[in-house]
């Protein structure tokens, strides 16, 4: 019986070197690559997520754990056909046009990745046209838009309108966030949800894709 517990524990403590070592050992033993991911790496991150929610772990610890998990996945990935790679979903992420604020969106991205999502980061100052282009290219399950300014948050509505015009709105859920955003605003612009912080953004994605 492969030792998944040791791998999970290494992920929880964010011990990147050990995660690599144990993952490699499991691969060498001939353990199923999908089991390594699901029962070892992702299982470890599951514990991290629960502990973060309980206030027992802090953001940097979560991110370090996620980094060690990714290092493990990189070792296993070549052994799995890409369509078999487990993913909680694909999220396209960006800050709207005219807005260069970066950190909140990036925290959301890192928290999503730590919970098994594939994240495509479109960056900052992303126009509606660019969002739509990214959607066509990457076919995400969810589009997550960020804005810090009341002057730029209108870009969210523009993007959603353009998505409707292009017939993309039914295929992709839209979530929004940032200091001036509220549930009411999300309803007003036709988004599928609003999350007040990074952790609840993950919960929101889970709910929308359930």
């Amino acid at each position: 019986m492969a030792n998944f517990e040791e791998l999970s524990k290494s992920v929880i403590s964010g011990n990147l070197a050990k995660v690599k070592k144990v993952t490699q050992a499991l691969i060498d033993e001939g353990v199923s690559p999908l089991d390594i991911i699901n029962l070892g790496l992702i299982a470890g991150m599951g514990v991290v997520g629960a502990r973060f929610k309980n206030g027992e772990m802090y953001v940097p610890e979560v991110l370090v754990a996620a980094r060690s998990m990714r290092a493990g996945i990189e070792l296993v990935q070549p052994l799995i056909a890409s369509e078999d790679m487990p993913s909680a979903g694909k999220v396209l992420l960006g800050t709207v046009k005219g807005d260069l604020h970066d950190i909140g969106k990036n925290l959301v991205g890192m928290m999503l990745e730590s919970r098994g999502y594939t994240v495509i980061n479109a960056g900052i100052d992303v126009s509606s046209e660019k969002f739509v282009q990214f959607i066509k290219e990457h076919k995400p399950d969810i589009l997550a838009m960020s804005a810090l300014l009341t002057t730029t948050m209108l870009g969210m509505k523009d993007t959603i309108e353009l998505m409707k015009e292009e017939g993309l709105k039914d295929q992709v859920k839209v979530i929004i966030g940032g200091a001036p955003i509220s549930n009411d605003f999300a309803d007003e612009v036709g988004a599928d949800g609003f999350a007040p912080d990074a952790a609840s953004a993950v919960d929101l994605c889970n709910r929308l894709l359930a």
Binding site: Y58, D125, T151, L154, A199
Partner: protein, 488 residues
């Protein structure tokens, strides 16, 4: 008779975070970061100005040689005065160790003092907030306490300023959405002052811009800073940084990151117009690692800004600090603790112009009850920094002798003569329990809320002349919004 020689006395309570040597160490580290790492400017004109001044420009990245920074520190105006908008009286000397306090700008939300509903800020809410700021004796200037959102959002700043100038004669710090907004607001201020020269002579407005940390001077911020410098109007430049997120986790690292951004802004202002009055701002705090909020109540906020005050004093440049705010979503015990600690500590540090009084919910929602409570805290904090005056009269040996053991000082002339030294509270309760119960057993927040309502219902700010108000209205009505990021 006693004689005192070679004697040192404090005229105020003293507090220091950094020594002179440490201040120098921080500033030199910032100069190193400005040169080694540099910062990014997104405005073409700013890039040209900086390049012409001798900075190393590579695309958006600007590396500033230390001698240019040091020159800018020499040339910026140290003596900055903000005036009364109706009379031109010179009121706030934003310099040295003077500490002034006022509200904050730009909260998307506010709490209605009559219904307790949390909603988006409006023309009415900003008008009410300004009225409250106008009426409170310890509040020295006004910021809007809300982004007006019941108007087209791209011109909300013009509406905001109109509400402010109609409702207070105190100095106004104005935060505009972009250079066009700032140009309109300056135009309105010039109308009130009686012309461009009059406004420059006795400025009652102070401009405001902020970089996006770490190290990005966005188009709007750089353009507003250059415009302020060219107009010769005091301009605040405020990095809002969080340890562990947009700055290093170490407090010294936060200082370096913040100073690097502020001083890069200073260099731009001085290269745009030598001698321009520049106010070094700061909201330095932590990224809360449980919730990922930008904390307005963390002890590190007060510590970092008291440290920044030491650096500002060392550099002899005016500083814009932060106090009287809370992460709490309502005005409760947490709000009181956080507001009191920040006001007391900031006041002791001698930071010059301190904002964000009235911020709740980590800076997203303004609350007028908190402004009124902060006004009372300010009274207490200022009593703390008045210190204890020691001389023959205050040592009071004569009256101690006169009253003698078992006597009573209450009816002595000496007592009457010195009673005003001590703070007389206006809001907090010191009454006996029965009396407090008879008055309705109210909490501090309830009393504060009653005062807010009373001010809104009854306070009458000194009005603007009707013709000036009409011209301002005209500018507001003709304002044209520009899409963010638009350059021309």
């Amino acid at each position: 008779m006693t004689t005192r020689t070679n004697f040192k006395a404090y005229s105020s309570t003293m507090m220091k975070v950094f020594s002179q040597d440490q201040c120098q160490e921080l500033v030199l580290a910032a100069e190193e970061a400005m040169w080694r790492t540099g910062t990014d400017f997104y405005d073409k004109e700013s890039l040209e100005i900086l390049k012409k001044a001798g900075c190393w420009v590579d695309g958006k990245r600007v590396r500033i040689p230390a001698h240019i920074t040091e020159q800018a520190l020499k040339t910026c105006q140290k003596h900055v005065v903000l005036c009364n908008s109706r009379t031109g009286a010179r009121e706030l000397f934003v310099e040295g160790n003077n500490a002034y306090f006022g509200s904050g700008p730009c909260t998307p939300f506010t709490r209605n003092p009559f219904t307790n509903e949390r909603h988006r800020a409006t023309r009415q809410s900003v008008g009410w907030a300004t009225k409250v700021l106008d009426a409170l004796p310890n509040i020295d200037y006004a910021m809007s306490l809300g982004i007006v959102q019941d108007v087209p959002l791209l011109i909300s700043d013009r509406h905001e300023f109109e509400q402010q100038i109609l409702n207070t004669d105190k100095p106004i710090i104005t935060v505009c959405v972009d250079a066009w907004g700032q140009a309109d607001v300056i135009k309105m201020a010039e109308l009130v002052a009686g012309g461009e020269e009059e406004l420059r002579k006795n400025p009652f407005i102070c401009l405001y811009a902020e970089p996006i940390s770490p190290g990005i001077h966005c188009l709007e911020a750089a353009q507003k800073l250059v415009m302020g410098a060219k107009k010769g109007l005091p301009t605040i430049y405020t990095p809002c940084i969080m340890a562990g997120g947009t700055a290093p986790a170490t407090m010294a690292g936060v200082m370096v990151q913040g100073l690097c951004e502020s001083l890069s802004g200073l260099v731009l202002s001085q290269c745009a117009r030598e001698g321009a009055p520049f106010i070094m701002g700061g909201v330095y705090t932590v990224l809360d690692m449980k919730t990922t909020i930008f904390s307005y109540g963390a002890p590190e906020l007060h510590l970092l800004l008291a440290g920044l005050a030491d650096v500002a004093h060392y550099l002899n440049i005016p500083m814009f600090g932060t106090a009287g705010c809370t992460d709490s979503c309502v005005i409760d015990e947490q709000a009181g603790i956080e507001a009191a600690l920040s006001i007391a500590m900031t006041n002791m540090s001698g930071a010059n112009l301190n904002h964000d009084t009235g911020y709740s919910e980590y800076g997203t929602t303004s609350n007028l009850d908190l402004v009124v409570i902060a006004d009372e805290i300010l009274g207490m904090a200022r009593r703390l920094t008045k210190g204890i005056h020691v001389d023959q009269e205050t040592l009071a040996l004569e009256v101690i002798e006169k009253v003698g053991p078992g006597g009573n000082f209450a009816d002595e002339d000496h007592t009457l003569e010195h009673i005003e030294e001590n703070y007389a509270p206006r809001l907090v309760n010191r009454a006996a329990r029965n009396i407090w119960e008879k008055a309705g057993s109210k909490t501090l927040t309830q009393v504060a809320n009653e005062k807010v309502r009373d001010i809104i219902n009854h306070h009458e700010p000194i009005p603007l002349p009707k013709d000036v108000a009409a011209k301002i209205r005209e500018i507001v009505e003709n304002a044209v919004g520009h899409v963010p990021g638009e350059d021309e």
